[in-house]
């Protein structure tokens, strides 16, 4: 048995090394994707374009405006003369928010306990809108509290700690997630190629009439890709560390070990899909669509899972990327240990084995039909 499996493995390696397309997918594509998307996708919201209308023209109003212009979160790009000018600016998207300082603000500040400023925010992009409201409030809050007497009047001392990503770098969140997505993509593409290559060249029929058993074919095909994908994972991680300075706080060996489980799972799903599809084209499209979109959207890559409605949360249980997302972010950022991640590891093994068995079953029916 092992001799036959080894034969299949060797054959598969020859196929891969002789096919430039496969090599490109395995090596060039992931690195390119990390570089491109890691660089371009940026969650940190800064330099929000705002407009400021100052009806007051007092020292106080100027002081407030200086605070905004000095903050890296805001770029004052327009000074509209009045409220009517705002509508076209907002609609064109030239400004995302407007600060309106009413006439009499300076006097109010000196005589009244509370003074008022009006803020108008473009809510069409809620993430931006949310962040803008938050930042404006935080900025004005800090400005108010600069007076130590005032600060003491707030009766509670709220101490905030930001864990696992204290510098609030969006890259630390996105890049590990990107690794998960890329690995899934690579595995899906590779499996779709391997099956269709056999069918294209007609060697599939030859394989099926040889003494090699169905499960041996499947196992023999999966192993080389596990090895290659693991190499890929290492490549990407090295790039992530060197170029984006992603921390590696946990145990790297644990990460690689669990990555093998993820790859195993991804390849199993890819193989299953390829074995199900009647034609190569559908195989490829199905493999891509069924794996990439869920990996991006349902895995917690960009959108938090706790925000999703319950049925969709339930659906995420069969998305392998979701478990690996926890694993890779856990190990890189939280220095998680195996005990914390064992449920995730278990799910990956179960899912992978399930689909692998299904793929083998499909092969068996082919040979016997």
């Amino acid at each position: 048995m092992f001799k036959r499996i080894r034969a299949i493995i060797t054959k598969e390696f020859y196929h891969i090394l002789r096919d430039p397309r496969s090599l490109a997918i395995v090596f060039a594509m992931p690195v390119m994707m990390v570089l491109i998307y890691g660089h371009a996708l940026n969650m940190d919201i800064t330099h929000i374009a705002i407009g400021v209308i100052d009806y007051d023209h007092s020292n106080e109003s100027q002081a407030v405006i200086r605070n905004f212009s000095g903050s890296r979160y805001f770029d004052i790009v327009r000074f509209p003369r009045n409220r009517d000018d705002l509508e076209p600016l907002m609609r064109r998207g030239e400004i995302k928010a407007a600060i309106i300082i009413p006439d009499g603000f300076g006097d109010e500040r000196e005589t009244q306990p509370v003074s008022h400023i009006q803020v108008i925010v473009d809510g069409s992009d809620p993430t931006f809108g949310n962040a803008t409201v938050n930042y404006v409030n935080a900025l004005l809050n800090t400005y108010s509290l600069k007076n130590p007497i005032i600060a003491k009047l707030v009766p509670i001392d709220l101490s905030e700690r930001f864990l696992y990503n204290p510098d609030l770098k969006g890259a630390n969140f996105i890049i590990p997630g990107l690794v998960a997505v890329i690995l899934m993509m690579v595995c899906a593409l590779l499996t779709s190629i391997t099956i269709s290559r056999e069918k294209e060249t007609g060697t599939m029929a030859i394989l099926l009439v040889s003494p090699v058993k169905p499960y041996e074919i499947v196992v023999g095909k999966v192993i080389p890709y596990v090895i290659l994908s693991l190499l890929d994972a290492i490549f990407i991680l090295v790039f992530a560390k060197l170029v984006f300075k992603i921390p590696i706080r946990g145990d790297l060996e644990l990460l690689l070990g669990l990555s093998i489980l993820y790859i195993y799972c991804a390849l199993g799903i890819g193989l299953f899909i390829s074995s199900m599809a009647p034609t190569q084209q559908i195989a490829m499209m199905a493999a891509l669509i069924a794996t990439i979109l869920p990996s991006i959207i349902l895995s917690g890559f960009l959108f938090p899972i706790f925000s999703m409605p319950a049925p969709i949360r339930a659906l995420t249980a069969i998305v392998p990327a979701k478990y690996y997302m926890k694993i890779i972010r856990g190990i890189l950022l939280k220095s998680s240990e195996f005990s914390t991640l064992k449920t995730e590891a278990l799910f990956l093994v179960l899912l992978g084995t399930f689909f692998l068995l299904l793929a083998i079953a499909r092969f068996r029916t082919r040979t016997h039909s």
């Binding site: 371009a40 407030v64 809510g123 993430t127 709220l158 700690r161 269709s196």
Partner: protein, 375 residues
């Protein structure tokens, strides 16, 4: 002209023969629109939280109930064990951990500023910052209420002396519902998938089957051939759009502030630019596999760089410049602007012009390449 009509008819016949293609074109995108529109939300609500009230006094319990009643926080865990708090954070079961110290009530009564510790899982910076903002607001509002009840309190404003209060108004999407932002984006995605991928595949399929050569030796011109191939898919894409629009309105109640006619006109321009890209891809590929791969990569690239997932303004300048040749970027602006801001031709003409330019360039380039490839 007559030849054109025949080609179009032939295309439709071929499409009709492939059942799976019909399912993919019409069924799958609608399902995806429903699923994705439902799943994707950047609203930060119901943030999983753990509260450790180490004081358990009447004052601390009052504060805790304010946290529990907030719809922004989902207090899933209550504990007295500090270790359990860090376990929950470490395991990712909670994003926020609020710890009220042991002497909270005593210190508060003595005006000694008791400390509340907030630990936030900052991997997703947006969620962490917004969540911390919620906690801060709740604490401040509770503190105000507490101080108002204190004996000897002068309502003339001991609390917020010299603070600046903001009156915020949010335009276009007052509740900041991310659905209004996401669903139009998803519609764009679906229309793009249909047009680019199916066009590329269909052309390459002809080449593979050898029927392309037969078409070449027939009396139709290359321009007619290309147009004849693209128009059916353009119509399919439009049909897809109508279905998506109906779903968007019916299920998600997306407001449509702008003019629907203008929307359709602008979409037609976009579809031609997307189609042009599809055809261009097909001139690069020799097998259907290659066509699929290339189309897929270009599409994913355009998608990620369109402002759908993350804003273009966030990207480094280099990449921002690159997005200028991405038709999806313009169409995303159009869809969102039209739906939410009621923007019309006068605001969006720049985008439409860009799309028209892209469409012309790509389609002409495709015709030229076609000629070269087959000679």
């Amino acid at each position: 002209m007559k030849a054109l009509r025949h080609i179009i008819k032939k295309e439709f016949l071929q499409i009709r023969r492939t059942r799976s293609m019909i399912a993919i074109t019409l069924g799958v995108p609608v399902v995806q629109l429903l699923l994705l529109g439902w799943a994707i939300s950047t609203d930060v609500e119901h943030v999983p939280t753990v509260i450790a009230d180490l004081d358990n006094s009447s004052l601390s319990r009052g504060l805790v109930s304010k946290f529990e009643n907030s719809r922004y926080l989902d207090v899933q865990f209550r504990t007295n064990d500090v270790r359990e708090v860090s376990d929950l954070l470490q395991h990712g079961d909670v994003i926020l951990a609020i710890t009220i110290q042991h002497d909270f009530q005593r210190d508060l009564v003595r005006r000694e500023r008791p400390r509340i510790l907030l630990s936030a899982d900052a991997q997703n910076t947006n969620v962490a910052l917004t969540g911390a903002g919620y906690v801060r607001r709740i604490i401040l509002s509770w503190a105000e209420q507490y101080q108002a009840k204190m004996p000897g309190f002068r309502p003339s404003g001991l609390i917020r002396l010299n603070t600046i209060s903001t009156e915020s108004r949010i335009w276009y999407n007052p509740e900041l519902k991310s659905v209004y932002f996401m669903v139009p984006g998803i519609m764009v995605v679906l229309v793009t998938v249909i047009t680019i991928m199916l066009t590329a595949i269909s052309i390459v399929k002809e080449r593979e089957m050898g029927t392309l050569e037969q078409l070449m030796v027939s009396p139709i011109t290359r321009a007619e051939l290309i147009l004849g191939k693209t128009i059916p898919f353009a119509m399919l894409g439009l049909m897809e759009l109508v279905i998506s629009l109906i779903v968007a309105k019916a299920v998600y109640h997306i407001p449509i502030s702008g003019s629907i006619t203008e929307f359709f006109l602008m979409t037609i321009v976009f579809i031609f630019s997307a189609l042009g890209l599809g055809i261009f891809v097909s001139t690069l590929a020799t097998t259907q596999q290659q066509a699929l791969f290339t189309a897929w990569f270009i599409m994913v690239f355009c998608l990620l760089m369109s402002g759908f997932f993350l804003p273009i303004e966030n990207m480094p300048k280099v990449w921002q410049t690159m997005t200028y040749i991405n038709p999806l970027r313009y169409y995303m602006t159009i869809v969102r602007g039209l739906f939410l801001k009621g923007a019309g031709f006068e605001v969006l003409w720049k985008q439409i012009l860009a799309l028209a330019v892209i469409a012309t360039v790509v389609l002409t380039g495709s015709v030229v390449r076609f000629r070269k490839k087959l000679e």
